[in-house]
Amino acid sequence: MNGLNISSDKLDMLSKISVMAENLSGAFSLRVDGSPYAKGSSANVTITAKKDLPGIDIRVKDGTVGEKIHIPVILTQSGIKDLVYNDFYIGENCDVEIVAGCGIHNHGHEDSAHDGIHSFHIGKNSKVFYSEKHYGESAPESGKNIMKPTTIVEIAEGGYMEMDTVQIQGVDNTIRTTKGKLGDKAVLKITERIMTDGEQYAETRFEVDLDGEDSGTHVISRSVAREQSKQLYVSNVNGNNKCSGHTECDAIIMDSASVSAVPKISANSTDASLIHEAAIGKIAGEQLVKLMTLGLTEKEAEDRIINGFIQ
């Protein structure tokens, strides 16, 4: 196992955020319980610890193609408040994939918190696929799992970033902030999927400045709010040049949950083309009936619809 001594419970938690033991080789960084645990670099990707702040700098050389970098964080002890700054410097003409994520296992009485502040500087004509999965588990009566991830993205001319975030289970309180600033012909595509239940609260805030000519963004948010959980979706897209922006927020609301969507699009150029779509509603009765006529029970039909929706 690459000489890393990782206990099976930690590996189990890593698997919940889609990171396997074999992913912890080459360029990677694993952070456990608020401290760096292990990291490695490759010929093209250098990962170094920051000197003044907790966190790492990830530097990807110009022309790096096909490399996959894993930077998971796990919290296994109750009461840890972890704040980390990760800066990504992606050179020009790269095509790389970065897998981040945070898993919290909280069986104590104190709250566990992870705030990751990720800054991306994407060079000319580079492509980055970034995925982030959040997962929490805790015993009844234990402390809360709190995550407040912030992602700040700057994309140079012709650059492309696709960001895929998933939070399906066990995170009690989350505020996700994503900010993007795009140069000429730069594209930022964001897909988020969220499911909340119990007394959970999830808030997402997107702010994208389409500064460059022919820049574009597409934000897709799909969420399910169950039981007494609450969700807030806020997006703010500014079209400052000839550009295109499309945001869509689509939510299924169940039980006594509540969901708010606050979309804002601002055009500061006559050549900006911006669209927002938002829909909040319960599962359509006819969808349940259709699946029941195919032999599923009402519960199976509901699960199937929800899983499909946020898959």
């Binding site: 009936v289 006529t293 195919l294 032999g295 599923l296 499909g308």
Partner: protein, 236 residues
């Protein structure tokens, strides 16, 4: 064999939609026709368990299914293809065919069902059943799911509604093939003469009652000569 005994349905507002329907369906291919508002779709939905009748009972191969839920009826051999197929975000064509078949199908198996309804499987198998599909495409996928289930009783509620002329030609061929392959009964609610013309038995509903039951040779002339003719012709 489907038996319907003394079946009535009165809406909560007190309007009688079906009035004392008695019917035995033992043929392979049966059509239900009649003017708008005659109760055809309500009857189909009652058989599928979507609407609960006010009175009466339904037996499928001797088993009383009147008290069964939609799911139980589906598992006991009732299939129902909707007049307006339902759209889903995030459920693919391949998902719905697998759900219908009751197991995960291989790509080849799922594709075979799509080919039955004249869809190029490769183009459709991974597509979501969402707004991107046309009404005609949805309708054919709906029929493919009924194929995948191949149960004792399959009810199609106006399969011709909302499809274009080209699709209609293929639809006729699909039912011809389904007729050859099925081991159960196919019940089609339709206004379309060409669909009615190959039914072994036609049930004519009018104002919530059975106006006539008979072979196509007996019923078709009635449709052409009666007041129903205008209504039926207008709908095609």
């Amino acid at each position: 064999m489907l038996q319907i005994k003394n079946l009535s349905y009165v809406t909560p507002e007190g309007k009688t939609i079906l009035d004392d329907i008695n019917l035995t369906v033992d043929k392979k291919f049966v059509a239900i026709t009649g003017p708008n508002g005659s109760g055809k779709s309500t009857l189909a939905k009652i058989i599928a368990g979507i609407i609960v009748p006010t009175e009466g009972s339904i037996l499928l191969d001797g088993t009383d299914i009147t008290g069964m839920t939609i799911t139980e009826r589906a598992r006991n051999g009732v299939s129902f293809a909707f007049q307006q197929p339902v759209r889903f975000k995030g459920i693919t064509v391949s998902d719905i065919i697998s759900i219908a078949a009751g197991r995960e199908l291989t790509l080849d198996e799922a594709c075979a069902y799509l080919s039955e309804v004249g869809l190029c499987a490769r183009d459709y198998i991974d597509r979501e059943i969402n707004e991107s599909l046309s009404g005609g495409e949805l309708k054919r996928i709906e029929i493919a799911t009924a194929f995948a289930r191949s149960t004792k009783l399959t009810i199609f509620d106006e399969p011709e509604a909302g499809i274009d002329l080209w699709s209609f030609q293929s639809l006729i061929k699909v039912f011809e093939r389904m007729y050859e392959k099925t081991n159960g009964s196919i019940m089609i609610i339709s206004h379309q003469e060409r669909i009615l013309s190959f039914a072994e038995q036609i049930i004519l509903l009018s104002a919530g009652r059975i106006a006539a039951v008979g072979s196509k040779d007996e019923i078709m002339p009635m449709l052409m000569s009666s007041e129903l003719k205008y209504e039926c012709a207008r709908r095609v």
